[in-house]
Symmetry: C2
Subunit: 421 residues, 2 copies
């Protein structure tokens, strides 16, 4: 019984819509029964069963097996997302490292590799070439393990026009107008793989939303502290992108009008006073590539060790960054009223030393602190948030249009198959 | 034929929904025919006719009369909002003036009165007492002219919990936690009048959106320059309120970290460096109550006259304010990416002298200015935007639930009447 092949366009569209509805219902509430899906979506049980069969046939959904319910009739079988077939690949191109991550439909990490590397003033061709090799290796490893790669999402350190995959500007890399999606797409081992490009601070915020393990945290600003500083704003469980897609550039909020010159051209931007390099410099720790990752022997590991030991210069350096961060976040809280601030990237590890000076600035400068203070939390994912968020962005796309991967899955599982029930 | 009286709850809810749909369709596209409404809403022509009859019977909608269409059948009659029955009343309680406005369903102003008055450090009881008298006079005048008052919306100079009508804080008035809606509601000549309270910067932004005469301007931040400075953020034609409803507090963005102490308790807030008093002081013009209104003989009129005459101190004072404003707006553009900035309140009149210094700061500090510069426009409504927006907020509520005013209209027009068609 072929279900989709011969349908007219309108019914085909409806079926795609319903497939997404069912897939998202399973993702939101797993494990869930067919009857539960029918109740939640308003679709008939027959329709739900047919859609679930398609999703299961394509490897998106799996059954945990019948549960003894004590009721008469076919026992309810709990459905979950299939953890063993589809994976999303996330790639992060950052200022001092590259990272790649492979995760399944529920965000379980199958592979996470990071390569410290100073990408500053390197050409896009060179850096993207390395990134392609890492990505292709990850795709090949996933395929060798029997996974089907559903897509690639790329986190980059600057504002992006997402519809074109165009990185507009990456001040810390010295890049202007780099068509990242186009460059990567032509060089992947899987040439038809959908490629999505987004700002790393946006993907980090989404990573924290989806995989950070915070209960009921649907509204927050997530500020990523690395060499560059950026933020992702999540309102009602969705990324707030602003009107042209460039919201969240907290790293370039002025905190010292006549302060040091930023790579963006302005003076006194937050990232010049509270970015990773400013903190390392003020603490007297030599900077090195890849230190965002806190790798053993790296500068950030040294910084953290000194902070834990109570080294006065380090604690003072972090406190100074905390005041600058508090000032820029006060502006953010005053303008956006996000309710909660999540400290991400390097700031997650430094949170114990940032909290007090940052909180003091917020208390003085954010007007709502008087009666409705914004909460300040540390990210659970730290520097991995963006690359994990990237894998999640791939999964979100799959769940929003499951039929798009039926063809991808075609070589291993028939997208449509006879009903067995 | 009684249409709503005997309907079960669910059908009654559906009819209310459809009444709103039809009313909003007429408001959006007037003049429009019944057939046009049916096409736009998907309702049957019979249902549309019945709903239009109800709206017309209540005085919300009126017919322009049949149009010769050259087609066979009953000629199409163009429908518009009724301009002569319902009015909304707006009240603005500001730091140096009170204002009241009466406008009809399409925003035509029937009455606009402003009273310069220094409200600083006056008790809420005293100021709200004056405001009630102005409002009651306006309601009485409207009723004497045969209008039906549909509601009151109040603009106040501080963050508001709109669901309770609670003004949380008004730093320039020295007020904390004032239950404005509750205090006013008990003292109006129309005791059952719905009372809505909102931040004046929010209502000013909505006033500009609805009545500013800008074509296709659905995304912008409107910054109101008065003694206090605030902003309203409009995204996709809707006010962006943030998570707790307190977004847009641009006046308390820090522009000079160790700058002068603000009435909010912080140092170097925008309104201390670019608010009306700071500009008057720097220009050497004596401050006086009610100057926001630019009244003849007032300080703002004097300031504008000096600026037009090219007085160096005045031009320098406005330029300094423009730089401070540009810095705070750069933070806003970086974080929110609103696409357009509208200069409101006093800033609308000062725009010719603000534009260059403000633009220079935006160019340096707002990262998107490199490839996608935010537009800067002057408000068309200036200091009247908030009180006009307040009247619009009343009208929006009426169109969102027309049946709510059927009872109000009951004394003059039967809410339901026999079909004549």
């Amino acid at each position: 019984m072929v279900k989709t092949g011969g349908l007219p366009a309108r019914q085909e569209g409806l079926r795609q819509h319903n497939l997404a509805l069912v897939a998202q219902c399973i993702a939101a509430g797993e494990p869930v029964s067919r009857a539960g899906i029918a109740a939640a979506t308003g679709l008939t049980k027959t329709t739900v069963s047919s859609l679930v069969d398609d999703l299961a046939g394509a490897g998106l959904v799996t059954e945990l097996g019948p549960e003894a319910s004590g009721k008469i009739g076919r026992p309810a079988s709990a459905l979950t997302l299939n953890r063993s077939v589809f994976v999303g690949v996330g790639l992060e191109i950052n200022v001092d490292y590259l990272a790649v991550c492979v995760a399944n439909l529920v965000g379980e990490v199958r592979l996470l590799r990071t390569r410290p590397r100073d990408n500053r003033d390197q050409s896009p061709a060179k850096v993207l070439g390395r990134a392609v090799r890492m990505t292709n290796n990850a795709i090949a490893a996933a395929q060798a393990a029997g996974r089907t790669v559903a897509g690639l999402a790329v986190a980059v350190p600057g504002p992006v026009e997402t519809d074109r995959g165009l990185l507009r500007l990456a001040p810390n890399l010295g890049w202007v107008e780099v068509p990242v999606a186009e460059i990567l797409a032509g060089r992947l081992v899987a040439p038809d793989l959908p490629v999505l490009v987004d700002n790393e601070a946006n993907l980090a915020a989404l990573g924290e939303l989806w995989f950070g393990g915070h209960d009921d945290l649907d509204d927050f600003v997530h500020v990523s502290g690395e060499i560059g500083v950026g933020a992702g704003i999540v309102i009602g469980g969705e990324l707030f992108r602003g009107v042209r897609g460039f919201a969240g550039e907290v790293g370039h909020v002025t905190v010292q009008p006549d302060g040091p010159r930023c790579r963006c051209g302005a003076r006194g931007c937050l990232e010049q006073l509270a970015g990773q390099e400013a903190i390392l410099r003020a603490a007297g720790v030599a900077g090195a590539a890849g230190t965002s990752l806190g790798q053993p022997g790296g500068s950030v590991a040294e910084l953290l060790a000194r902070a834990r030991a109570g080294d006065a210069a380090t604690v003072a350096a972090v406190a100074s960054a905390g005041r600058a961060l508090g000032l820029a976040l006060s502006a953010t809280v005053n303008v956006v009223d996000p309710g909660t601030v999540v400290l991400g990237g390097l700031y997650a590890s430094l949170e114990p030393w940032l909290r007090e000076p940052l909180g003091a600035e917020l208390s003085e400068r954010a007007i709502t602190q008087r009666w409705s203070p914004a909460r300040v939390l540390a990210s659970r994912l730290g520097p991995n948030a963006a690359v994990r968020g990237a894998t999640g962005a791939v999964v979100k796309r799959v769940l929003a249009d499951p039929s798009a991967v039926f063809a991808v899955a075609g070589h291993r599982v028939a997208p449509t198959r006879p009903r067995t029930g």
